[in-house]
Subunit: 545 residues, 2 copies
């Protein structure tokens, strides 16, 4: 039995950053927008990455009519392999986004399995009962679209990540006409990016970076090495143009930079003159001051090009004394320490390092407060659903909108799993479905839960002490207990403590009748705490011979 | 045999933040300025805090004539107990700084052991061959001084943490006259704060916070709860004045806030009218909109008042629906994630949260670029030694100075352990002494080295698997291997893998002759990796019966 309500169900991307997935459900049919992943926070020890908990659609896999992607960033496409392994529905994406999805699916040997369709900004297509109108928006990757999603319940504007850059590097501004058209037809709800809701003003145009690049290209005495995201195609274009202006040759360094720039070139999103672009070997053989390199590693990742250069462990080349390293990206919250450590190491090796706030060498890909108000005024929706951001961003988006006169009771600043229902033009807050994180660690998906992370935390805190006991059927020790530790004290053989612990255990086993395991764990823990004020994890095995 | 050179030896505070300790050595005598600690970075797993490696002075303890403190922040006094346990020399501090040192020494039962002397800004006193002139500077704690340190080698100005606030809350600006006086006498070297060297302009006056506080006090519908550092006495004063202006009662919450505000009150640094200050119980019994509370926890520390309020685990009171929580402090790099998690949790519990950049609710205690240039111009030293900051800050301080016309060859942007020598008015870069971190973890000082932290990292990454083997003298297993794991897989008894591992080990022991330990570790590691793409730490014990 199907309902004629429209349901909007945030699976990921509300109340957190970087794992976007939204479900639209009407009359027994489901449309999914984006399937993102996110990188773990510092306290999620050992986790590789996180995908949305898509149990809701897994249980309704036959209802899924299609998956539409807004753009090619990992927080919008990164979980695609996990989704298409379980759900077979056609995928829709613009050319560059499609290219990036294909790379991902190829890596996971799933490309042949999927039905992948190319769409363009301006296209209108049907996905089950939904009419989808893709429209161009500016963002930090080309070929980003917002979506008008119509069903008999009304028109919803899904403005994913966007900004209103008046002079974008690719010359293609956000489609104001389409937003006005939606507004004229009447918009039931607007879902819009909240990432920068605590930033006043208007995100500067990417064009403004040219001034900062000019200054660097004018003064750098040797090589220029620019670190950025591998997906930031507009930055590649700007660096190429600066190289052209100042007569330098440009080379890309590293697998993802080379792969993405090649794809963007092939698809027509990145045109670098043949006499500007050289390969890395050629660049390395030239005079330093004739060269600019572009690499990844702006987040301080230890195994990125910048991470290896800062440690002197890069394979193909090392830093030179007069190198100017430019970090052209913002630092993702949580990465500050590793980014600053990398900067300090680069300075130690004699490079000059240019980074924000020293230079205006990066602009955000997301709208700031004044743009967010403009979006609301342009679209003029009945309801506002802030998306993309931590809860503090969603709340701030709501506060902003209310300040701009939007009725506070028509704003739903909710978290993942909160079903929103629309019927007869009215929104109601529905049930809350289970949601949250699925950890991916190594080859295993979802079998690493918070309890394992808590165990890792305990291990990380004070290490582990392991004790092996060999007992006969009377509970008598058959040999001295073996004790091993890791991460606990300075030397593995910190003999006083380990010897004392051994004696303690021998005495205890002699006295104890039954419950030996618990007794030994308890007594060793309190003994070690009294001696060291530390609480290592104590593991005891009993072997009966 | 003693040298007539002046040596300046940075033990802590150069090339890192938050652990300041400087040695001045002349003619066989040593003067120490500050003995700070720092909190561990995210990748120093399980470490409680870090103190300077003061081996250099430990070896020369009989040469130490005195220890002078510039102010009472933990990064300048926090290691005092560790130092005075090994070095007996008189301590010199201004009243508030002395009060905070006494608290620290009392906690560690060392107060009776030390010779603690009170100094005031404007005082001149001798420490061995050094004449020390203390002069007032503005900073985010009252009673901060810079030091003029004269020896026959010349006058060195030690401008520790400072800013040039024209309208400080306590009405006591930085002592420009003394700086001009030093300049007139000729300054050999200036050591000055680099913390904000990448921040353009001038640090706003603390007075400017009043505007932000006014807005909050005017609009908050219920209680106001302000989170800040327990040492930020000027902020306490400003909040008290705002409470007075808007007719609210003020209460301090938590041990360190109460203790510090009481001490500052007793010493005359904080005068709150009797009809404004109430105790917490009284505040909790009043109407919410008549109350402002001040607490710690602005860094998202889980066991602080703010951390507990955000989790609903505070003992004395809970958040109320209309509470306005104000984070009046900057976020220390590395704490961003926990601060934002705390903010999100506070929003979840229905509070409104005001934090930077949403409101100008904090100003830095450190000079920015224009003030740093002004300090150089005022003091007009021959040599400049940037102190206090990561290497990137020291380098940026040097770049700034050079831009302002200071000869680049007279700037020493060096790291901890780099001895600087002054003789006949000339500076030379001397030897590099071993330096760096000493980790303090539990009851143990210095026995936790990087190798233990690396082990903890491995444990945190993929957990630990422990295998106990009982063998006879022929190397035959006497019982099935016992296997235990932590932090590795979802359930401890993830039976497939553990059963397979057990079979693997039994087979291996049967086949192996000698080197059983290495063989089992190696084989289990590669087996688990092939199955799970994870690399847990594998510990094996052999018991011979």
């Amino acid at each position: 039995m199907s309902s004629k309500k429209l349901k909007i169900i945030p699976i990921g991307g509300l109340g957190e950053v970087g794992k976007n997935m939204m479900v639209y459900e009407y009359d027994g049919s489901i449309l999914i927008v984006d399937t993102g992943m996110m990188f773990p926070e510092n306290d999620m020890l050992g986790i590789d990455y996180i995908i949305p908990d898509f149990e809701y659609v897994r249980k309704r896999k036959d209802m899924v009519r299609g998956i539409v992607f807004t753009h090619g960033h990992m927080d919008h496409i990164g979980a695609v392999s996990h989704i298409v392994e379980e759900i077979s529905a056609p995928l829709y994406a613009t050319p560059l986004t499609r290219g990036l999805i294909e790379v991902k699916l190829s890596e996971d040997r799933l490309l042949s399995k999927v039905n992948l369709n190319t769409i363009h900004a301006g296209d209108c297509f049907n996905v089950g009962p939904f009419k989808v109108e893709a429209f161009h928006v500016c963002h930090s990757i080309p070929d980003t679209v917002g979506l008008g999603i119509s069903s008999p319940a009304g028109l919803v504007v899904h403005a994913s990540d966007y900004k209103f850059d008046p002079t974008p590097v690719d010359g293609w501004p956000t489609d104001f006409a389409k937003l006005a058209d939606f507004s004229g037809r009447g918009v039931l709800a607007l879902l819009a990016d909240s990432t920068n809701a605590d930033q006043p003003g208007w995100t500067p145009s990417e064009k403004e970076l040219d001034t900062a690049l000019d200054k660097i290209f004018q003064t750098a005495p040797g090589r220029i090495i620019i670190a950025s995201f591998a997906s930031l195609v507009s930055r590649m274009k700007q660096v190429a143009k600066a190289a052209e202006r100042y007569g330098r040759k440009m080379a890309f360094v590293g697998y993802s930079m080379c792969q993405n720039s090649e794809m963007a070139h092939k698809l027509g999103y990145l045109n670098i003159p043949d006499d500007v672009l050289v390969d890395l070997n050629e660049a390395l053989s030239m005079k330093p001051r004739d060269v600019v390199l572009m690499a990844t590693g702006s987040q301080g990742e230890p195994y990125s090009i910048m991470g290896r250069l800062s440690r002197g462990t890069n394979r193909r080349f090392d830093l030179l004394e007069d190198d100017t390293v430019v970090l052209s990206s913002h630092t993702i919250p949580g990465n500050e320490e590793s980014v600053y450590q990398t900067i300090n190491r680069l300075f130690q090796r004699g490079a000059n390092v240019v980074y924000a706030p020293l230079s205006h060498i990066h602009v955000s890909g997301h709208a700031k407060q004044d743009e967010m108000k403009l979006m609301i005024n342009l679209v003029n929706p009945k309801y506002l659903i802030p998306v993309h951001g931590e809860l503090r961003h969603l709340k701030q988006h709501a506060i902003l909108a209310a300040e701009a006169g939007f009725p506070a009771e028509n704003i739903a600043a909710v978290e993942n799993g909160q079903v929103l229902e629309f019927e007869d033009g009215e929104m109601t807050i529905g049930e809350r479905i289970p949601g949250g994180y699925v950890f991916v660690d190594g080859a295993r998906v979802g079998d690493i839960g918070p309890s394992v992370v808590r165990e890792r935390e305990a291990l990380a805190q004070d290490g582990v002490v392991m004790i092996s006991l060999v007992l006969n059927h009377k509970g008598q020790l058959q040999t001295d207990p073996e004790i091993v530790s890791r991460g606990f004290v300075y030397k593995h053989g910190d003999s006083d403590i380990m010897d004392e612990t051994q004696k303690k255990v021998i005495d205890l086993v002699k006295k104890t009748k039954g419950g030996i395991h618990e007794q030994v764990v308890k007594s060793v823990r309190s003994f070690l705490y009294s001696k060291t004020k530390k609480r290592p994890v104590v593991l005891v095995t009993l072997s009966w011979v």
